[in-house]
């Protein structure tokens, strides 16, 4: 009787793994024989639950980068054109105290 119970437990465990506990194969893999898109969907649906929650950025553990910057002279004055920053390209004037039109590149 004990061996029958252990066999049942093992089979139940195998069934659980097949139904949803195995990791998702990398994209591009073909579906194994006997597998189905429906069972794959179940795996994906359960996997996203680990994302649920409120998450707060930790600057001390992060390491952000920015593209390199290129600054060129716009004309004979002090207007410069800067490009490469993550926020986009921009023109700026180093001396004017008066407002001037400014275009943020797409």
């Amino acid at each position: 009787m004990y061996r029958v119970m252990m066999l049942a437990v093992m089979l139940l465990g195998l069934a659980t793994v097949r139904a949803g506990e195995s990791p998702v194969a990398p994209a591009g893999d073909s579906l194994p024989a006997g597998d189905s898109l429906a069972s794959r969907s179940v795996v994906a649906d359960r996997s996203v639950s680990v994302l649920a929650g409120h998450w707060t950025y930790d600057a001390a553990k992060s390491r952000q980068t920015e593209p390199d910057l290129r600054i060129t002279r716009r004309d004979t004055g002090s207007r410069l054109h800067a490009e490469g920053a993550a926020s986009g390209s921009y023109d700026f004037d180093l001396s004017w105290a008066a407002p001037f039109r400014y275009r943020m590149a797409a």
Partner: protein, 190 residues
């Protein structure tokens, strides 16, 4: 986007520009302070995010090629976001539907992480950018971001085994060797 800029010289090596909105409010949307010191260039930006919360971002560059003053090529060596708060609020449903909110940008992404393009929507509607996310492992998700039909960014998101940390690695497709690492901690109450 067209704005107005008000610039002034702060010192011999430092300039400040206030970028103003052009919707009639004339509110400062961003202040940029540019400081040149030898072969080091520092650009400090601060302003307010779409939800009104303050942000700061200081990028330090080292001169990459000979140039005159600010003119030339600059290699970024450090990014400091100071005390800027950022974060996500993510909820999932039993059928796998994910709702991913970015409160600071007033943005939300809703859909299944099956590799299909999901619209990034802000307070004004679809931004024109999409993100396609697929499950790449038990706690890993890979994504591709597009602006229109053009792929702009790729990345991955990994949840730590204890589910406390979310680590995002992303990079511009134009500079795949320059990757950013962004780490988020799960709020204990969530």
């Amino acid at each position: 986007m067209i704005s107005t800029s008000l610039g002034r010289l702060l010192s011999g090596i430092e300039w400040q520009h206030d970028f103003l909105g052009c919707d009639g409010t004339e509110a400062v949307i961003e202040t940029l302070t540019v400081t040149l010191s030898g072969d080091t260039l520092r650009i400090a930006a601060h302003g307010n995010l779409p939800n009104g919360s303050p942000y700061e971002r200081v990028v330090t560059y080292r001169r990459a090629a000979p140039g005159d003053g600010l003119v030339g090529r600059w290699h970024s060596i450090k990014v400091d976001t100071g005390a800027t708060w950022d974060g996500f609020v993510i909820s999932t449903a039993d059928d796998g539907l994910v709702t991913w909110r970015i409160p600071t940008d007033l943005q939300v992404i809703t859909g299944h992480f099956d590799g299909s393009d999901l619209a990034i929507v802000d307070a004004k509607g679809p931004t024109g950018s999409t993100i396609a996310i697929h499950v790449a492992g038990p706690r890993r998700f890979d994504y591709v971001m597009k602006n229109g039909d053009r792929i702009t960014e790729r990345g991955s998101i990994t949840i730590s085994p204890d589910r406390r940390w979310l680590t995002e690695i992303n990079w511009s497709v134009d500079e795949p060797d320059r990757k950013s690492k962004l780490v988020y901690e799960r709020d204990e109450t969530s």
